[in-house]
Symmetry: C2
Subunit: 460 residues, 2 copies
């Protein structure tokens, strides 16, 4: 280790919270994680970095080597694909609550690449995290902070993935958890997780945004730690996916990274991670980070088109991609800045486009939940627009595991999804639909089905 | 690298298939993977090892170092937690079909340890594999062999996990897949995976054993590669979980490893892996490997008690732990030998014991599917019997992810599971049951629920 290493190890020693609008710096946030002066969002900053910027180049090679070395260790902090990058994270003196999150694979999607019209397509699958979604990477940081600050209860409003993750980490850390979910609007699999991990789960007759409003009021009145993505520590953990991705690409920066947009915390986090890597000279330039939304939950699209990116245009969210059914995204301003900083675009895709894209990702042997598939559907649009060139390197961020929403998949294959699709759309959907066949329990019957499948495949 | 390394790299050069009963050696198996002479099971053997056994001690330290070094690589074979151990696997010249399987975490289960009455309890979570079950570790090997042998179709009979895994790997490798499942008897999540990955899925009005009988006949009559666990290459991949576990324990052998028993391929595979580690002097002694079954699918229990371990006592399987609902386990003879070789026990547990154990594993923030929870339920019995001592190190093998069967979890919490449970059982179950509460969408209403929960918690 060189002398730069010691300086580096100190990097995370001090962090502060800073308002993204008025610049107010705080040591500790109020319960609802808003700037006490102007009410805007907070972000985590590391004042020590600025003092040490002369050492940046030393750190760069040191950090990469240190992070790499940790991968052979089974020690808790090293084995975590989040805490392995702890030089760029808040220090948690009490010890971290970890489920060995991160370390997610990058898959090739050859069939999806052909369908989108690009030469090579990669997917960083955050759905391979322990509870099946990218939320785990942020939860390990925020919930470790919660315990350090002495809370015994944590809470979130959720479309499902956040509550599953929070409940698991709370259970791991010996904390109790409260979940507010919109009645009847979250996928079963996700609800089953919160219950299994012992969360106190309340279904409210409102939407996600309504749940979040109630919770924000609740944390002001009761000592309970807010774990929605307005909590900037969540985003600190989530930013590590960008670091890990670049490491997996041997620090070769792709031209494009494409991410789903719901509450917009994830694109904000990934953007922050990329900008920090650039600032510390760990990468030479920024990839374009683009955000894709469902047409029925397109608040960021409208914020940019109608509000010029200056004011939020909230919508009444409706999409079968439940993980991004959010109409009033809390991190919209951070997301707008990331799009500006990286030169990415924001697009929207239809329900049928999502369903087809999800099926294509499945046929590559990878699979994902519907919200993740907006990335491939959006890529197709960006290629058609000429924004993505066929020879450029594109990485899709898949945010949730296929098993997060089996109902959607079954409905799709049973033709119960999108029954009113237009003729052209229905043809696209039908290409991938494969309901299970009921076959007589005899060898001859199965053999006939098999031969029929071989024949129709050969005829194509 | 020492001179031993080259010899080691050659270790997997030649493998053969050998009948476990009559010892017949084959270069290539018939379609149904049975000994052509006596009809018994085959296993993969490595004749080169015997010739080189003098070098074993050199290999031992070399292998451990080589395997460790590979963990920092993102190259496909090194990044796989199976192929990283390729010196102990068949060589696949055509390149492997991998989804970055293996690399699964070992979690502490402090609450479950208290409940079982042991000091410390670890769980190796094979449900953290890409498709959510341990099947992936075997599938990557067997399906790579299938492609190398020139097959364009693969097939399996399945209670769900095998089909999900097979379909994913087939899609990855550009092969087509046929799945036979018992109508109405597999968990939805698993079915949705097979469909999403594009498998030709046939529901037959019979049970798992009936599906397997039909498929065995089918592969004799049609060029389609059989991927049930009678395929010994599946077991070769699955054995790597034992190697990886020992590596994670820094090669300190635990006293006990406990695994669920359905078709009995997994305990056979883990046993084979442990015995090979011992033979190559990579570990100094064997842990006791015990197998736990559901009472309603207790073929191995009865085979040992009524058949003296000499003849299979098949049963009509019935349990809500669908992944082990198998009455005619194909690998029973291999399993009996593993129990004998390691000194492990075989036990059975009730449906209520499974449900409670599953809930306890969830409360530790880990979670699993019902079949995995038999391990904890079984451990409690083994402790009561005095077979497991409180200070001994125990590792449970959790085989499937919580998200594999959300219906079971929801039914449990909604009190729809085991409605006829006896009074004592119901009290145990109710301890963990937490149906979602329907709460008015108002801060005050949520606050009341929260205060009530704090009060009842404090009262305990």
């Amino acid at each position: 280790m060189t002398s730069g290493t010691k300086a580096k190890i100190e990097m995370s020693a001090g962090h502060a919270l800073r308002c993204i609008e008025c610049g107010e710096e705080l040591e500790r946030a109020a319960a609802e994680f808003r700037c006490p002066r102007c009410g805007d969002l907070l972000e985590v900053v590391y004042p020590a970095w600025a003092e040490s910027e002369a050492q940046t180049l030393v750190w760069a090679s040191d950090l990469k080597a240190t992070w790499r070395e940790r991968r052979v260790s089974f020690q808790s902090q090293d084995a975590s694909g989040v805490w392995r990058f702890r030089e760029l994270l808040p220090r948690v003196a009490e010890g971290v609550i970890s489920l060995r999150e991160g370390n997610t694979p990058v898959f090739e999607l050859p069939g999806s690449a052909r369908s989108a019209g690009v030469g090579r397509l990669l997917a960083k699958h955050q759905g391979m995290n322990p509870t099946g979604s990218f939320k785990d990477t942020g939860m390990t940081v925020a919930i470790s902070v919660a315990r350090q600050e002495g809370f015994s209860w944590v809470a979130c409003a959720s479309t499902g993935n956040t509550s599953a993750s929070m409940a698991a980490y709370a259970a791991q850390g010996g904390l109790r958890s409260l979940v507010l979910i919109p009645a009847g609007k979250i996928a079963w699999g996700k609800l089953s997780q919160a219950l299994d991990y012992g969360a106190l789960t309340c279904q409210l007759d409102t939407d996600f945004d309504g749940c979040l409003r109630i919770l924000t009021e609740l944390v002001r009145r009761h000592p309970i730690y807010l774990l929605n993505s307005i909590n900037p520590y969540r985003l600190e953990g989530q930013k590590t996916a960008a670091i890990e991705l670049l490491e997996q690409l041997d620090w070769q920066v792709p031209e494009h990274i494409i991410v789903p947009g719901g509450n917009l915390g994830n694109c904000s986090a990934l953007g922050k991670g990329l900008e920090e890597l650039r600032r510390l000279d760990l990468i030479a330039r920024l990839p374009k980070l683009s955000v894709i939304q469902a047409e029925g939950a397109n608040a960021l699209v409208r914020t940019l088109r109608e509000g010029g990116g200056k004011r939020l245009v909230a919508v009444q969210a409706e999409t079968a991609a439940t993980a991004i059914r959010i109409g009033n995204p809390v991190s919209w301003k951070k997301a707008v800045r990331v799009l500006e900083a990286t030169g990415g675009r924001c697009e929207q895709v239809s329900e049928a486009e999502i369903a087809v894209a999800k099926a294509e990702i499945g046929r590559d042997g990878v699979g994902c939940e519907p919200a993740s598939a907006v990335t491939l559907a959006g890529l197709k649009k960006l290629v058609r627009q000429g924004f993505v060139q066929p020879q450029e390197q594109v990485v899709l961020i898949l945010t949730g595991h296929l098993l997060k929403d089996p109902e959607y998949t079954l409905k799709f294959h049973r033709r119960e999804l999108l029954p009113d699709a237009a003729e052209g759309e229905r043809r696209s959907l039908d290409t991938y639909r494969r309901a299970p066949l009921e076959v007589e329990a005899k060898v001859e019957a199965v053999l006939r089905v098999l031969e029929q499948a071989e024949k129709s495949h050969g005829a194509k």
